[in-house]
């Protein structure tokens, strides 16, 4: 998603001072991009809304610690990604789903079915979807993803390749396997 989310320094300073109107302005500015990242990483819309809420609760708590290094959107997005990944880990622990495998019990895509990319993307595991979205769309490096996930760089790289191989199969693309 293109990010044109620059906010005036004055607005940030007012938010840091606890100005409620400024905090709401920040919420309105970043509400959709935060939700979008969370929704692309998580399967459920409700979970994504919860991550949106948790992210801004953290922003409200920690905005005084933001000192202008890097883009504010980068700072907020990292909080959102961390919270979404925490939720994924929690759900995986709950259902004992291995981190790097496709979940059991989900309707399987017929290999070669001609479906659109968005639907195919939805059928990836939460972990694969997160890696693809953070790397290919949000521009995170494998090193950053590995740090966020508490995994190795090679884990991130292999997840990305496996996810693209699955997407390719689901989309019925390509000349060879």
């Amino acid at each position: 998603m293109p990010v044109a989310l620059a906010v005036p320094d004055l607005l940030v300073a007012r938010a840091q001072a606890g100005d409620e109107a400024a905090l709401e302005a920040l919420f309105r500015a970043f509400e959709t991009p935060v939700y979008n990242v969370a929704r692309r990483m998580l399967r459920s819309a409700e979970d994504a809304e919860d991550v949106l809420q948790e992210t801004f609760l953290e922003v409200v708590r920690s905005i005084r610690q933001y000192r202008g290094e890097g883009h504010l959107w980068g700072w907020i997005r990292r909080i959102a990604a961390t919270k979404a990944l925490m939720r994924i880990r929690r759900d995986q622990l709950r259902v004992a789903e291995p981190l790097d495998e496709e979940p059991v019990g989900r309707p399987t895509m017929h290999v070669g079915a001609n479906i659109d990319l968005e639907r195919a993307f939805e059928h990836l595991s939460d972990t694969s979807r997160s890696v693809v979205w953070l790397h290919d769309v949000e521009g995170y490096t494998h090193e950053e993803i590995a740090e966020l996930m508490g995994k190795s760089v090679s884990f991130s790289k292999s997840q990305l390749a496996r996810a693209h191989a699955r997407l390719r199969r689901m989309l019925g693309e390509g000349a060879h396997a």
């Binding site: 998603m1 606890g18 409620e20 905090l23 709401e24 919420f27 309105r28 509400e31 959709t32 939700y35 979008n36 929704r39 692309r40 819309a45 994504a48 809304e49 949106l52 809420q53 948790e54 801004f56 609760l57 953290e58 409200v60 708590r61 920690s62 005084r64 610690q65 933001y66 000192r67 290094e69 890097g70 883009h71 980068g74 700072w75 990292r78 909080i79 961390t82 919270k83 990944l85 925490m86 990319l117 993307f121 693809v132 979205w133 290919d136 769309v137 950053e144 790289k157 292999s158 990305l160 390749a161 496996r162 693209h164 191989a165 997407l167 390719r168 693309e173 390509g174 000349a175 060879h176």
Partner: protein, 195 residues
């Protein structure tokens, strides 16, 4: 004929492919097509429309922000270290019970920890999600104790009956314990934002 794997294609896109893969894709039309398809897939992912939340979550966030402001107002700042120290001096010069001395000590410890916490707040750090949840829980528990202390009208001195003072000591000591945990979380689990 051996073709590029998806690992090779992803590495080619990242400019990290092996010499073999780079040379192969120059001569193999099928692998070039696969690489093009990969580029197109990524471009299509980037072009997906932004999804928007169905419900407005701002009211919940706003209430939390208001609660946080109220907690901050209730907390003791650095000024209270001096106040508590002065009080300690007064009480220690008078014949006093152990309970009162313990009360003064707990207040001093609490004020010192508040001061430490304020210093962590300005270090430009951000917490992981897990640590943030822990901080929120600790802050909520401290707020409950603060509310209890305020109801008892006991934020300044003891001076009640022996039983009342003993209860105050217990509350202040609980507060010190929670504050210590909060400081530990801030000190050991906060991370610099590397963005």
């Amino acid at each position: 004929m051996m073709h590029c794997t998806m690992d090779d294609l992803v590495a080619l896109r990242a400019g990290e492919a092996s010499v073999w893969a780079r040379q192969h894709v120059e001569t193999c039309a099928a692998c070039r097509a696969e690489l093009d398809a990969l580029y197109q897939r990524v471009a299509q992912l980037k072009a997906l429309p932004a999804l928007r939340p169905a419900r407005d979550r701002w009211p919940v966030v706003r209430e939390a922000a208001r609660g946080q402001r109220m907690r901050r107002h209730r907390t003791w700042g650095a000024w209270s270290i001096a106040a508590a120290a002065a009080l300690a001096g007064v009480l220690l010069l008078r014949p006093s019970t152990n309970v009162r001395a313990e009360l003064v000590q707990a207040k001093q410890q609490s004020a010192t920890l508040e001061d430490q916490l304020q210093r962590y707040d300005v270090e430009g750090r951000v917490l992981s999600g897990r640590a943030a949840a822990l901080v929120a829980e600790l802050e909520d528990r401290i707020a409950v104790i603060d509310g209890d202390l305020t109801r008892r009208g006991a934020t300044a001195t003891g001076g009640g009956t022996g039983t009342q003072d003993a209860e105050l000591v217990k509350l202040w000591q609980q507060r010190v314990g929670l504050m210590q945990e909060l400081v530990n979380v801030r000190a050991t689990r906060a991370r610099y934002v590397g963005l």
